[in-house]
């Protein structure tokens, strides 16, 4: 078992954990956090693939690295948008969950 | 000369480690929030400071060394802000009034 495989397994577990939180947690902020964990796990898998592609004197394939950097910024923008929607939801309904009946 | 500098590095870094350990133990063992905050700032200022001091002979001058010193000054500034901010908030809440100046 190498360090790279170890972080790959860690990324896989994070995806599962994020998915679980996304389904199970009722609060919207908790769902946003879980979704970020999920995304972070996916990016970690990308990073593992980049590290395995070390070549030409570079420790990590630069193409997945560049994708991860753009993905981090896009994920941040999406999180901002989700938090803004949550704030409007709280303003309008006084609640922070999505279930419609309660 | 190199040997003396290496010994200096080892001594300073080990001392820094001691302060990090002290900060952690304080954070876990001290009785209330304000004293725990006190423990934290020791690790912030002295622990990092000693590690930076120990690394100074090992980096390229001038830019590597100046970068390390700038980094420690930034950490000092952050610590000097975090302490009062958190402490003020905790104190105000506990006593129900503003702390004396």
């Amino acid at each position: 078992m190498s360090s790279v495989t170890l972080f790959g397994l860690c990324g896989a577990a994070l995806v599962g954990l994020g998915l679980f939180g996304l389904i199970v947690q009722p609060g919207v902020l908790r769902k946003i956090l879980a979704f970020n964990l999920l995304g972070s796990g996916v990016l970690l898998l990308f990073g593992v693939i980049a590290r395995r592609g070390a070549a030409a004197g570079i420790g990590s394939d630069p193409v997945p690295q560049a994708l991860i950097i753009t993905a981090l910024v896009v994920a941040f923008a999406a999180t901002v948008l989700a938090v803004a929607l949550l704030r409007r939801l709280v303003q309008e309904t006084g609640r922070d969950s999505l279930d419609t009946d309660g | 000369m190199t040997l003396a500098l290496n010994v200096f590095t080892i001594v300073a870094v080990v001392l820094g480690l001691v302060f990090f350990l002290a900060g952690t133990v304080g954070l876990l063992r001290f009785p209330d929030t304000l004293t725990r905050l006190h423990a934290l700032t020791k690790a912030d200022n002295l622990g990092l400071g000693l590690v930076v001091l120990g690394l100074l002979p090992q980096v390229a001058w001038p830019f590597g060394g100046l970068k390390l010193i700038a980094l420690w000054l930034l950490a000092l500034l952050a610590g000097a802000t975090v302490g009062p901010l958190l402490g003020h908030a905790v104190w105000t809440h506990a006593r129900g009034r503003e702390p004396p100046p």
Partner: protein, 310 residues
């Protein structure tokens, strides 16, 4: 070598532990703090995976802007409305599905081909003609320039989405929600001393990005964090969202990128191709404009939709 493996195993366990805590913590605030510590440790993992550029991005976003965003959100949650948690059946089903997905991905990780496929030689082949020494910047600005162009547009789209959440009567005003009610002397001092140093670090990251880890995203994020600090302390006020100047700054980066990209049809023979003689100055111009636009866009995203303090 086994020492490094033990350290990495410890790091992975810490990350998983914090992720579990973020998922199951009782309070939203505890979960947010756990998530912030998690992001910090993930930045260390990027260093261990030889991706320092990524680590810089994760650290600049995670320890600066994300904390302000999530802690602000956690503070505005209602206190009394606890939603019903799903029942045991659904939780069990969710657990099974999630475990299956994780197991599938783990199998993929274990079955990856050896040696791993790589695009590094192709992506780095053009670096000398571009005058760049950092392969990641080379990919972002040349090899996969189209991705970066679209990504810089996404930030503007996100801002449009955010602003469209404003109430009708607030439209055209200043997004003032970040400003602290009572900043206090320590915070004001920090907001006076830190931004000049942060400006230096941000410009350094942008400039060094040509040859070493760094670049427009990292530099722009640090600049945005400094601006947000002065907004929180009340030293500066955000611009009105209807203003022409702020809109020009927002689109400057993507617009210049697109213009040079279209000019590539004549100068370099293809969309987003650089003429061999002038590649370096053109790339620097694009990176500088992108840094500025990214900083303004991220700062305004943090400031939220226009409207008074809640």
């Amino acid at each position: 070598m086994s020492l490094a493996l033990a350290a990495d195993a410890g790091l992975a366990l810490l990350i998983l532990g914090l992720a579990v805590w973020t998922t199951i913590a009782r309070t939203a605030f505890g979960a947010v703090i756990g998530f912030m510590a998690y992001g910090f440790l993930v930045a260390l993992v990027w260093v261990r995976l030889a991706a320092v550029d990524v680590a810089l991005t994760e650290a600049a976003l995670g320890s600066g802007l994300t904390g302000v965003l999530l802690l602000g959100a956690a503070a505005r949650l209602p206190r009394d409305a606890a939603a019903a948690r799903p029942g045991w059946g659904l939780r069990l089903a969710a657990g099974v599905v999630s475990a299956a997905v994780a197991a599938g991905l783990a199998a993929v990780v274990l079955l990856l081909p050896v040696p791993g496929p790589t695009l590094a030689p192709v992506a780095t082949a053009t670096l000398p003609t571009l005058g760049l020494g950092n392969p990641v910047t080379g990919v972002l600005i040349a090899y996969r320039a189209i991705d970066t162009l679209l990504e810089s547009v996404v930030l503007v789209l996100a801002l449009i989405g955010l602003w469209s959440l404003a109430r009708d009567e607030d439209w055209g005003g200043r997004p003032d929600a970040l400003r602290a009610a009572n900043p206090g002397a320590a915070l004001v001092l920090l907001a006076q001393v830190l931004p000049p140093l942060g400006l230096l670090v941000g410009v350094h990251l942008f400039w060094t990005g040509a040859i070493a880890p760094g670049g427009a995203f990292q530099g722009g994020t640090v600049l945005a964090a400094m601006w947000v600090l002065t907004l929180v302390a009340g030293l500066t006020r955000p611009p009105r969202v209807g203003g022409r100047g702020v809109r020009l700054l927002l689109v400057a980066g993507p617009a210049l990128f697109l213009a040079i990209g279209v000019a590539g049809f004549w100068l370099g023979g293809a969309f987003l191709a650089y003429p061999a003689a002038d590649a370096k100055p053109l790339i620097l111009a694009i990176e500088a404009a992108l840094t500025l636009s990214i900083a303004v866009a991220l700062g305004l995203l943090l400031a939220g939709p226009p409207g008074a303090r809640e």
